[in-house]
């Protein structure tokens, strides 16, 4: 902290400088960030005059963790290059994963298709489900699909992220656990993450025939309880609050973190209601954030988020274990910032966003492929995306010191400012009864629609500049042929299920499905039964049908 006299002197010299340089006019202009924070022409110690280094910033790996969650950060271990990937069939995705591994990827992440998200088998009668098999992700309907996905891959050493939401998370994760066991990796060693965030698939994307949010919360907490609290899979992150997806729905950086933290708080409260202590489970609550367009605001967001999380966990919940207090997160560069026009420009956007994520201190990173506004990533585009991370990691030198932007008057001021706004917005959500309640009553949808429509308007009016869309337009050129997935995937997957159903012990599956019905009706943790079910070859569709049957379907609170 500077003393008062120094600050007064800086202030008066700054006023002199403004006059002398004739920049009065410029000093009165404020540029707003996407969150609406007004930015001045220049920041000086005056703007952070109350900053108490030891209390507000501290050191990496210690409270309040703003400077990084680990003491050595990237000097000790670089972030994980984890590319979200999946399409057509498990076999084809397996080939893509091998290519990614050869290109330098250090973590896997499964993008699953819409049937997997929905817990709908391709042969479900009355649903035209087979149309979308493998079109936007890898189909993983049974243990057989998961086996094929990870065939010959070193899953003992490389962690896997399963990107699906609570309705199918327990089922898919159980399949993966059973496959890992069969491959000689015991549950005590299996490493990875399930997305398992009820917000992901309700706020940004809505699953067809979704369960009600309170039931999704129950299922998500069943997995947190089974994996972490009951120590069945202690190295697995049973949830990853995916604020990235909320953000992609059009909200700003402040809303992104406030949505994520209030959602996490609802899960913490549910776990406490079940009788667990905060340190029994909080160490494995993880996050997945966005790296969007405003460079410094995003960096300030990551730093502020770490400090807020540390405060909530200690001050509100009394966590003692440092692993509970640190906010670990994966980052994905903003898909919504990519354009279908002039697609190669997306490489530049993604590179800048990757730099943001790294300067902000992420633990793991996905960089988008330049063709993602047009189609699923082609092999060429995805390789460039991996190499973009390698450029940041190995060429720029930004990894050589920890939290290099700390102490910048602007960054520290912006971090404080965004922290204040996140806390205020969290209070607004809490006033609605918390995240799950405000999702159920439609308030969150309204907030999101409002934000998105404003942003859309800004783009149309040219206030928000998008190169190639509303400014710096080029002559239209012949577009590249988009990457297409295998049109026979549906037949392959239907055959895989037919074979499975003819080989498995159907009576045993039926008995276990009855057990699951009882678990659901009696509000028991469903995961032990689902572990058995998936080992016996039950499909995601069969498991999810039980949930829908017992708990019913959610009526969406969305209106135009």
């Amino acid at each position: 902290m500077l003393n008062k006299d120094d600050i007064t002197k800086i202030k008066s010299e700054k006023d002199d400088w403004i006059k002398k340089m004739g920049c009065q006019q410029d000093a009165e202009i404020f540029h707003a960030t996407p969150s609406g924070i007004k930015i001045k022409n220049l920041y000086t110690p005056e703007d952070v005059s109350n900053l108490d280094y030891l209390k507000d910033l501290g050191f990496p790996g210690s409270y309040p963790y703003i400077r990084g969650v680990y003491p050595t950060m990237y000097r000790g271990r670089p972030w994980t290059i984890r590319m979200f990937s999946g399409f057509a069939t498990p076999e084809e995705t397996n080939e893509r994963w091998k290519m990614l591994l050869d290109s330098g990827e250090t973590g896997f992440s499964a993008a699953v298709d819409v049937l997997t998200f929905n817990g709908t088998d391709p042969d479900t009668p009355g649903v035209d489900a087979d149309v979308e098999v493998g079109t936007s992700g890898v189909p993983l309907y049974s243990i057989k699909g998961v086996e094929a996905l990870v065939k010959d891959l070193p899953i003992k050493d490389i962690s896997v992220a399963l990107v699906t939401e609570p309705m199918t998370a327990v089922g898919l994760t159980s399949m993966y656990f059973n496959v890992a066991k069969n491959k000689g990796v015991p549950l005590s060693q299996v490493a990875g993450t399930t997305q398992n965030d009820l917000g992901t698939m309700t706020i940004g994307y809505i699953t067809y025939d979704s369960l009600r949010p309170d039931k999704l919360l129950k299922l998500a907490c069943d997995m947190i309880e089974y994996c972490t609290a009951m120590k069945q899979a202690p190295k697995w992150n049973p949830i990853n609050f995916t604020t990235y997806n909320y953000r992609e729905g059009g909200i700003n950086a402040v809303q992104e973190i406030a949505f994520g933290f209030t959602n996490a708080i609802d899960h913490i409260e549910e776990m406490l209601r079940r009788g667990w202590k905060i340190d029994d489970f909080a160490s494995r609550l993880a996050f997945h954030l966005s790296a969007d367009r405003n460079f410094f605001e995003e960096i300030a967001k990551y730093r502020a988020a770490r400090r807020i999380w540390a405060k909530i966990l200690t001050e509100k919940y009394g966590a003692k274990d440092p692993r509970s207090i640190i906010m670990k997160y994966h980052v994905q560069t903003a898909g919504s910032s990519l354009t279908a026009k002039q697609p190669l420009v997306n490489i530049a956007r993604t590179a800048i966003q990757a730099l943001e994520a790294v300067l902000g201190g992420c633990q793991s990173l996905h960089t988008n492929s330049y063709d993602e506004a047009i189609c699923l990533p082609s092999e060429e585009a995805v390789k460039i995306a991996v190499k973009t991370q390698q450029v940041v990691m190995e060429e720029t030198g930004v990894v050589n010191t920890i939290d290099p932007l700390a102490g910048s008057y602007y960054i520290e001021w912006l971090t404080n400012e965004i922290e204040k706004r996140i806390l205020n917005y969290m209070q607004e959500i809490e006033n609605q009864g918390g995240f799950v309640k405000s999702l159920n009553n439609g308030w969150l949808f309204n907030e999101m629609s409002k934000a998105f429509n404003e942003r859309q308007k800004a783009i149309v009016e040219g206030k928000e500049r998008v190169i190639g869309v509303n400014c710096h337009l080029d002559e239209e050129k012949e577009r590249p042929i988009p990457f297409k997935t295998n049109p026979w995937a549906a037949d392959v997957e239907k055959e895989r299920l037919r074979k499975l159903r003819s080989e498995r012990n159907n009576q045993r599956v039926a008995t276990l499905l009855d057990q699951l019905r009882r678990d659901c009706a009696q509000n028991k943790n469903v995961m032990p039964t689902v572990m058995e079910l998936t080992a016996e070859g039950a499909t995601l569709g069969e498991i999810t049908r039980v949930y829908r049957e017992i708990w019913g379907i959610w009526e969406l609170p969305i209106a135009i």
Binding site: F117, V127, E132, S136, I374, V460, T485, I560
Partner: protein
């Protein structure tokens, strides 16, 4: 035009990207059209709603990559029920320009890919509806 254009906006299939369809619905509503937001529907239900609500336009939103198959199935359903000349059929979503011609050949009157500005959607729908009304008069 004195009569308000009636539009059914709907998502078919399991794909849950709802942002686009609600945004476009609002844009059309603000442009003075009557918008019936159908949410998620099977093809059969979507056509039922279109008939019941007596809409001029059906707008399908598809982000799953399976747009060609969906439009084929949708047009087949309309033909099966003798309704292929009843509606202006437009489709929007994560659709590469490369596929536009194919979708139009199958039966979509227009396709709106990523980055389409609202005015273009409004204008296209107005033109297509006027054209259809003229055609129907001449029959």
């Amino acid at each position: 035009m004195d009569k308000k254009i009636r539009v059914l906006t709907v998502k078919v299939g399991l794909d849950g990207h709802w942002r686009g369809v609600t945004t476009v619905s609002l844009i059309l509503k603000n442009a003075g059209m009557e918008v019936i937001f159908g949410g998620f529907q099977t093809i059969e239900n979507a056509v039922n709603v279109a008939v019941q609500e007596d809409v001029d336009v059906i707008g399908l939103s598809i982000h799953s990559g399976a747009h060609i198959t969906w439009i084929k199935k949708f047009v087949e359903e309309l033909k099966k029920r003798g309704l292929e000349k009843e509606f202006v059929l437009v489709v929007g979503g994560a659709i590469p320009e490369h596929d536009f011609a194919m979708l139009k050949q199958i039966g979509a009157h227009d396709v709106f890919g990523p980055g389409t500005l609202p005015d273009k959607i409004i204008q296209s729908i107005q033109e297509k509806v006027e054209k259809k009304e003229l055609e129907n008069k001449n029959v």
